[in-house]
Symmetry: C2
Subunit: 193 residues, 2 copies
């Protein structure tokens, strides 16, 4: 599965074969079964985690016990709790597999070491973070400016792959609307077609 990651990484930055060997040597693969959690609230996130197959979500419980999906992750995405990783503080989130999945993992120690050693990897990480920030901005804009229907359509259009991989009630929780509302929006659309 490492070949998938190799191809992915080389789309972002130039990496020599030597460097790639180092990155590979520091990594290991893991299989995750459906519904398995790889981060529980209260734990500290101490790895870098690249998804080669399958699907995950990052979510959080609010005071009333309902859960809210902060982010999804599918093939060729990273999944993490940046805040817990950076500040080494207990996470307020959970990460669970929505399907049987395989991931490539680096311990924080090794990943940080690689970042120091390989400038291109550091550059990659900066670009990834910058893109993540931009994406967050766009999501915020969508959340404050769009109706439920508009949010739904935009999500479907922007992340079709994700949309087709995850249960609808989690899409609803990601968009900040109830699953019933989402269901009715969908009904309206099937009528119009």
């Amino acid at each position: 599965m490492f070949e998938v990651f190799e191809k992915y990484l080389r789309q972002w930055v130039e990496i020599s074969d030597e460097e790639m060997k180092l990155i590979r040597a520091a990594s290991f693969e893991r299989k995750i079964r459906k519904w398995q959690s790889i981060l529980h609230e209260g734990e500290v996130w101490k790895i870098a985690c690249f998804i080669t197959t399958g699907c995950f979500r990052l979510y959080r419980f609010s005071a009333d016990g309902t859960d809210h999906t902060l982010r999804f992750g599918v093939e060729n995405w990273w999944i993490s709790d940046q805040e817990s990783y950076n500040l080494e503080k207990p996470s307020e989130y959970n990460i669970e597999a929505l399907a049987a999945s395989t991931i490539i993992v680096w311990t924080k120690e090794k990943w940080e070491e690689l970042r120091e050693t390989i400038p291109a990897l550091k550059l990659f990480n900066e670009r990834l973070l910058a893109r993540g920030y931009e994406t967050s901005q766009q999501r915020i804009y969508s959340l404050i400016s769009n109706s439920a229907e508009e949010k739904y359509l935009e999500f479907q259009k922007t992340y079709p792959k994700v949309f087709n991989s995850v249960p609808l009630h989690m899409v609803a929780s990601y968009l900040g609307i109830s699953r019933e509302t989402l269901s009715r929006i969908r009904k309206d659309f099937t009528r119009r077609d």
Copy 2:
């Protein structure tokens, strides 16, 4: 006014006096009058901009002509359009001063040069971006999980300084609710006290 910035920066990273001199030499100050825009939709954001006094907001118009506030900036904050800056593409946003303000400015060229030259400054920039990302996550969580009232209370509590510097209808647009709803929430609270 540069002393303000100096103090700010040294809270984040260690900077020698030599380095600080370089940073200062590359900067210049500007006074901005109330309602003046320092970024118009369609322009490319090509500076680094630190607010020493006053107040700004980053906002965007949606198709129906209403405007939506993505972010505020007050004393000791940065204000920018990261996406336009990084990708050098025309901005979809506007930045305007909500009060007479003073800012410290570096051109993109000089700022990037300083980042290359001064490792601590690069480190600072990375930390700032990381924190910005974490903050975005928290805002997204608030937007998808909280009621209008909860969003209002959280904003007031988390950013009291900002809250007390900006018009209420912009707070409403920042929270993604109408100004009338915000007004009514406030009324409920004055009654309870």
